[in-house]
């Protein structure tokens, strides 16, 4: 069984505090994403507590994506783009599911937890129509 990411292309990320990763939408990939987010420690201006929240929220959203992808004949790939924007950390997860964004159920326990840990969590149609989940974390929040 092969899990494929799309073929190589010209890198589109130039912000030095950002990254993009494309992975098979399978359970093992969730740990890869969580591990990558942990690598931003000391580079993103966030507290240890907020970085922990970011890792949990990203894990929950990716797990939800993987669960939906597992219902398809071929799981497909998910794409995660993460970086800093003004006073926020913004992480976007592109769902490989060909279904409409409405198929993302915001009342799923994982999505509820992720929403509770973010300043905002939005589900919109991405450029290709697939669901695009955007998580925003305020870095200037004094409570964190």
């Amino acid at each position: 069984m092969a899990h494929d990411a799309p073929t190589a292309r010209t890198p589109s990320i130039v912000d030095p505090l950002s990254f993009a990763v494309t992975l098979p939408a399978v359970p093992e990939s969730v740990a890869v994403v969580r591990h990558l987010v942990g690598g931003t420690a000391g580079h993103w201006s966030v507290s240890e507590a907020l970085l922990h929240d970011i890792r949990v929220a990203v894990s929950e959203v990716c797990t939800d994506v993987v669960r939906r992808a597992g219902q398809a004949p071929v799981p497909g790939t998910m794409e995660i783009r993460a970086g800093t924007e003004e006073d926020s950390i913004v992480i976007r997860v592109r769902d490989p599911a060909p279904a409409a964004p409405a198929s993302v159920e915001p009342r799923d326990p994982g999505m509820l937890l992720a929403a509770a840990l973010t300043e905002s969590l939005q589900v919109d149609p991405g450029p290709d129509g697939a669901p695009l989940i955007t998580m925003t974390f305020a870095t200037a929040d004094p409570a964190r």
């Binding site: 494929d4 890869v32 931003t40």
Partner: protein, 130 residues
């Protein structure tokens, strides 16, 4: 994913900057532990990735590079693309004259340079069980 016939392909886009080395290391480690390679070889693959990232930021004009990892049961293929014209050649020359020299050849089982139609070069490194 851990079954003998499994193959995983994943891609990381890395900007030239402070995140590049830690993320390249973590990416290769996280995918490498899904193979049957000994952990010291996975660690060496991650070190090679870090070395390449360091060299590309200091010896090429690339502002960002793309690392594609193919994880097979007994080996890791690391492909660094977007190095620019002659970027991979310059990178290997810098490695050969570095201190210590030839780190990439020492750590890898195979090294190859490929060029696209635009002249943009990629460096392909394979790490297999010793």
């Amino acid at each position: 994913m851990s079954t003998p016939e499994s193959i995983v392909r994943a891609r990381l886009e890395l900007p030239a900057g402070p995140l590049a080395r830690p993320l390249a290391h973590r990416f290769v480690m996280a995918l490498g532990v899904q193979t049957a390679l000994p952990v010291d070889r996975v660690q060496e693959a991650a070190m090679a990735a870090e070395t390449i990232v360091h060299l590309y930021t200091t010896h090429t004009s690339a502002r960002a590079v793309e690392l594609t990892v193919r994880a097979e049961p007994d080996r890791l293929h690391l492909r660094f693309s977007g190095l620019g014209p002659d970027g991979a050649i310059r990178l290997l020359a810098a490695d050969a004259s570095g201190s210590p020299p030839d780190v990439l050849r020492t750590l890898s089982s195979a090294l190859d340079v490929s060029s696209g139609s635009s002249g943009d070069q990629a460096l392909v490194l394979v790490v297999a069980a010793a």
